[in-house]
Assembly symmetry: D3
Homo-oligomer: 335 residues x 6
């Protein structure tokens, strides 16, 4: 035996400029086991999935043709709109026109909520049980308490997220699908303490889980292995991606309002294996807590050619995907 059983998939969000079939062809050649489909481009259309009987059959046929599995769809960009306070052109650029509508913030939030419910229904229809997404946050802009926060507003922010998402999660429960929040700055949960508080606010309802992605923790100096241990029973999906800190006294960990890829930034996203993250330790903890879901590669690295990066990350995922020990090393003594 060689490797643990977890399949390695590629998240298609950074590849929606390619028709799904072109991408599937490449991905099979590289050796991936499957795809995490973005609800974007021609990759996965929630609307058509629900309205057109043939759509999902054709989608499945395409995947089968290239022997690719699918364990999750990803609705991050729409999810972001559900609970954001500020809704503006940044959102408009990344969501479907029908969700944006006239752009009135509250209207966008309502339509986004409907779309996420539909994503759960479409996923169920497609025979999968995970939807990856963001939640948005009404309080992200109060990150740094100046002018001094009224701490009651922070509390209210958590409650608002719960109020907006609980009806959505009810639909998830109805159709037997789970929501996996990618813990991430700009979301209601972005580190250990905010995740802890968010889960409590939702009374730990099982429908609300986590897409673990260490790249968002590293630049915050949060230890990914502690994160996994603390939230083990809510980790339903895993992203294979890193970030790197480049702190030389000149750069800032906050990013300096510089775009990703700018060498003056204090941190940046980087292909898994290139930033110094201890993947051996991460996989040991995943083994220990019994995680057996997909390992989904997300390519976000402005300093490496996209296809090269996708292959490097796959190689890393294969190498560290070792099986947990099933016996103690000193158990054979004296046998």
């Amino acid at each position: 035996m060689m490797n643990a059983n977890r399949p390695v998939t590629l998240f298609t969000g950074q590849w929606v400029d390619l028709p799904l079939e072109s991408l599937a062809q490449k991905v099979q050649t590289w050796g991936y086991d499957g795809l995490e489909l973005a609800c974007d481009g021609d990759h996965f259309d929630v609307d058509r999935a629900l309205s057109d009987k043939e759509y999902l059959l054709a989608k499945r046929a395409l995947l089968d043709k290239y022997q690719l599995q699918c364990h999750a769809i990803n609705i991050s960009l729409v999810g972001q709109c559900v609970a954001d306070k500020l809704i503006d052109a940044r959102h408009k650029r990344v969501i479907p026109a029908r969700v944006w509508g006239d752009g009135d913030p509250e209207g966008v939030r309502q339509r986004a909520a409907q779309e996420v419910m539909n994503a759960a229904r479409a996923a169920a229809e497609f025979g999968i049980d995970r939807v990856i997404g963001f939640t948005g946050s009404p309080i992200w802009h109060m990150l740094y308490s100046f002018p001094p926060n009224d701490w009651q507003e922070i509390e209210a922010g958590y409650r608002e997220v719960v109020d907006r998402w609980n009806p959505i999660l009810d639909v998830f429960d109805e159709v037997g699908v789970r929501f996996c929040l990618e813990v991430h700055p700009t979301e209601i949960a972005y580190d250990i303490y905010t995740t802890q508080k968010t889960l409590e606010c939702f009374n730990h309802r099982p429908a609300f889980g986590i897409n673990f992605d260490p790249s968002h923790l590293i630049h915050q100096f949060v230890d990914p292995t502690i994160f996994i241990e603390m939230f083990a029973d809510r980790i339903y999906h895993v992203h294979i991606k890193e970030s790197i800190r480049r702190l030389d006294g000149r750069s800032s960990i906050l990013g300096s309002h510089l775009n990703f890829g700018d060498p003056r930034r204090g941190w940046d996203f980087i292909t898994a294996g290139y930033g110094g993250v201890n993947w051996s330790e991460i996989f040991r903890v995943l083994n220990r807590v019994g995680y057996d879901g997909p390992l989904s590669v997300e390519w976000e690295d402005n300093g490496m050619e996209r296809e090269y990066g996708a292959r490097e990350a796959l190689a890393l995922a294969r190498r560290f995907n070792f099986p947990a020990g099933t016996r103690s090393f000193d158990s054979a003594f004296g046998k």
Copy 2:
């Protein structure tokens, strides 16, 4: 000779619950040389300074009574309102009622701008040439580029700050006073690259300078000595304060929406001398660039009694306030 000539003052912003005279009494006992007066409480009232002939004479008499100098007044909280995008209850709590008015954001911005102009006039009247303050920022909420920023908006943010502040700085120039931005998260400039860009946007006009405060750089991993070297000619005022990083894998450098003083935060403010900052290096660079203005202690440390902290920081400022060498150590060989 023992110490460099720079006076050590106390910034009164965290003491406005005390009448100025009570504070002055204490401060003299402790051994301070003077005060940096907050435009708050009964410490310094911009309105009365301009409308009531006697006001400034009485203020000066009080300072003289306790042999205290004054080199700067501080209008930070009002300055914040000049260019913030979101104006809400957080601002209302910290500015004078007449500036808040009905709270309509643009109205607040306009009145705040007038108030800062008046602060410059009052400072001139009082015989001093520095006003410390914040600028606010229309783009702070776009710190983390998700949903993805439109980078043109970032550019527009810088321009808006310039447009709002240039008329104010014209008043500063008229009355011969300089504005000292405390480089700080939530402001238009909060690290090296944003400071560099801000100064460029203002075409390096001399009226716009910096209040150097290392406590806002440390938690960003920015080296304070490089900051001083790069902006030496615009550092008009110095705050003596530190921050400390407490990164143990659980805490986040972003702060987790936890209040200052909460031990789960990844960083916190702390009395100068208690956080590991290399003040020897900072003072060497201040010496090298010829800074000879005030060293103003700001107490922000929720884990130490306020008066104890004020005395410890003073002791530190005295100890490190050593004179620059005036000769090379090997210049005497062979004489």
Copy 3:
């Protein structure tokens, strides 16, 4: 106000070669507030304290003469015998002859248990409510699992300690005194996880508390501030002492069977303030959890003259014994 209220005492265990009066004289001169009396030499005799009415009166009179307080007595060496598996010449050298008796291990354990009970009674008689001590351990020799431990024996070891100590603690409860285990290698609890387990095994009975001494944690790489936070409600007494790591690739953290003071050891005890421990952080946590008991200096530093060390450690304890903040630094804004 300048300092927090905690008294600074000197533990007399390393000074029992001096008559108590000689020591008291010196200690008063140096500026200490009191003594933690060792049950050894003429410092504190448990037997006489219970049998001779005059003994405790005379002891108190002596302390009063030099204006010294007493908050605790220390029975460490006898306590060690209560639950050790191996009882041998090492024990004989450091306990009273009447406790050693014929040296039969189980007899020594029984007599040691009686002596500790008597120490509690004597403390109560003397008007104090803390006895500092060790517990011994039946499983210390199994520290390194080779030959492979039977992990049931480890469990049994914890239970044996509880069984031997519960009757002793009953006496403590009767007389209103608390036992303070110095968490320390060779004892049943020597780090965070063994302390956690020990407290659980005792069902967290209040009579069983901790003498916090960071010198035993540092060389194990345990963070003393986390220790305080986790066991805050059981920390009844504090020792001011450090240890230092000297790891140069040749030395071992285990100590190489070399005596203290040998420069080839990988770690050693050292006067507080000379080993790099962050006392500022330790005192902040003590402030946060509300510890207001004694700070007791223990001199163990074979590289510094004894009296010099006692004075240096006192100076450190005074310096860091600052009061906690009573107000938030931004609470005065806008007053």
Copy 4:
């Protein structure tokens, strides 16, 4: 030419639950050059080797069938009993019943000594010249000097080991075999200074050498390359294994009486290549001192599946087994 000549073997101690032939089959497939046979299970039976003419011939035939070499046998568990002070159930579980006998400690020690002598004879008979083993220690329980050690007892402990082992080593000399102590906690030598002292106590007799295993040095902060340089002429065998330190302020380097594999331990064993050890430096020193014996992989990693680990360690041993340079890089200039 590609690799240095050293063969890579697998130590079979953690595989004695498998019949030797099953293991041999696997090991050949993986690409190993040979086996270091444990004196345990059906792998190598010292008693039968000496009493049954056919036994060794059959053993050799089996190895030849799978083209596997054998350079050493390993008698660690029995060796441990020769000089341990405490002999108890831990020992009983891991040694042959005939050595345990009635379990009387001194009887066990005597029979263990005989068994080790026989192991030397059997090795010679089998045509090999190395026996790997432990020595046990009469003073391991005095690791931490409390109750304070009588340092004469430490000295006596070293002498006792010499007295018990010298007659054994005489047999080794007679049959031309060498003993290789695996320097390891719980043995008389466990770091640099105890190894130095042990070798001196044996007057550096050549029969007493070392099985170098860096996994026991790393968690003590001992630099393996210094170890090799200091004892180069006594390193007769090498184990390929690592340990990893996981010190997060909560865990202790002493291990907290927690079993291997427990994530709360401060250190643990781990497959070579997964713990951060600098194997390039170790191999350079092995090259420099001319070590040309076997590299024997020992699998002890409770977090990785056993067979996966055996293959990863083999790959590492091959990669770093590079030949020493035979010429200086600047020797060709000007030729």
Copy 5:
């Protein structure tokens, strides 16, 4: 697509004991794309290249036979003589006899200058446009300012180098070839600030560029990526080589007058990939600045067999030679 286009060559300077054809044969087998020819041995003879029509044709034919490219020749050892202050037996050993002549220092300098001019001419004739070399330095011996330097002499040293090299560079310009200084201790430029100053002294004339080799920066604690960014437009050639620091409190970073390969040295040269250099970061910067020239492996590692090292370095160069990203990871959102 898989790799960036940069060819990987081997510098032949450490292989001149082999006839070029033997080396070419090996190098092709290993998978190199070409050779950087040393002006030494039978590898490249400047004199014959200019005097013998057939010489270069035969050289090219030999390279073609083994499908090897050539992008540069290397005249380092002769270049060193052009501006060194001390010319002695060290130089004699490594340069052609005709350049050494009678060994009178100024004569050697003049003849060396002529030879470098001829190297440029020969390169042009051979159809290539890079000559790698050293400059020598009249001030290297004043590295440590004791006896105290007259800093005017340092200035004069830079000027002397310019005066000696400008006429040589004129020839380079005539024939369309560029000189690539390997920034290196003992040369006029050996770190960032001396390179900056040297380039300024030459008025940044394009004929004078850099052969970037990180192995000379690492032991000086200079960050190679900053070096590349600062001098991006003058980096015409790249060496793949590392150095390693081995600082254990005993060794000195200056080298202790010990030869390379001596384990007591504080640093040493080492095969790329074995010393901890972050090649991922180096290649990202090379990508960013658009470097598309050769990657030339230089073997200098006295602890690894020469041919083994050449193959390991090639493997590293191939692995990290990834293409730069051509698109932003978030540019596909919403397409």
Copy 6:
């Protein structure tokens, strides 16, 4: 008792612009115990000391007037000339004209040798037994082996130093004075391995000892405590001075041919106590090896005012000059 007995002196070499009496006056006020006199200015004139009977009497009277001791004179600058290969204007600037003479290198070396002999005679006459100095080095310029060193020349360099200095040391022996080399770059011994070799070359003759100065070791990454332990019996004098490393990726540990005080240098000299050196550890080792000679402060810090620096260094020397422990901390147990 408070402090160890070692006197604290000030080396006058950086103060020769002041008449000795002015300096003595200041130094007494600051609290020094004495002076280490430079053979320069009017501080100590070797020539007059030997030729003019009254000179030494007057010198002694002056010291007595200010109650200052003298334990050593310092002839560093002349000593440098005895064995340097390059003798040039740098030397001329720092030595007496009569030693320079016509500047012919060999003549300078001879006259310098005579002067050092005379310094020994003058010291004896003055009643002291230490002369501090440099040796110079014929091989310093070969620090970096390129062009490749002929390692026989390195050997020859050591021998030349011995040949030049042995006759000088004979005079030292005659008059009962010892030479104390300040181990320092540009001298024959500048780190641990070169010191070891130098002492061996001199056959460890007692007349040749060391002036220990950690400031020259720190920037080489040499651990000063190891240095003391290795050469304990040859350390005759100690300098209290530090250096600091400022390595930011741009600066080089070699110094970039930049003068002291230039912030771009990778290291610089700095007042004791301001650079992070662990003086507690240094004094513990000095105590352990029984060093009881002077502690001589040398001021070399271009970033701190000279008199301020002299006082800070004195305060540090007093604080750390603690007595060694005379008893083990556990020796009192059971008394």
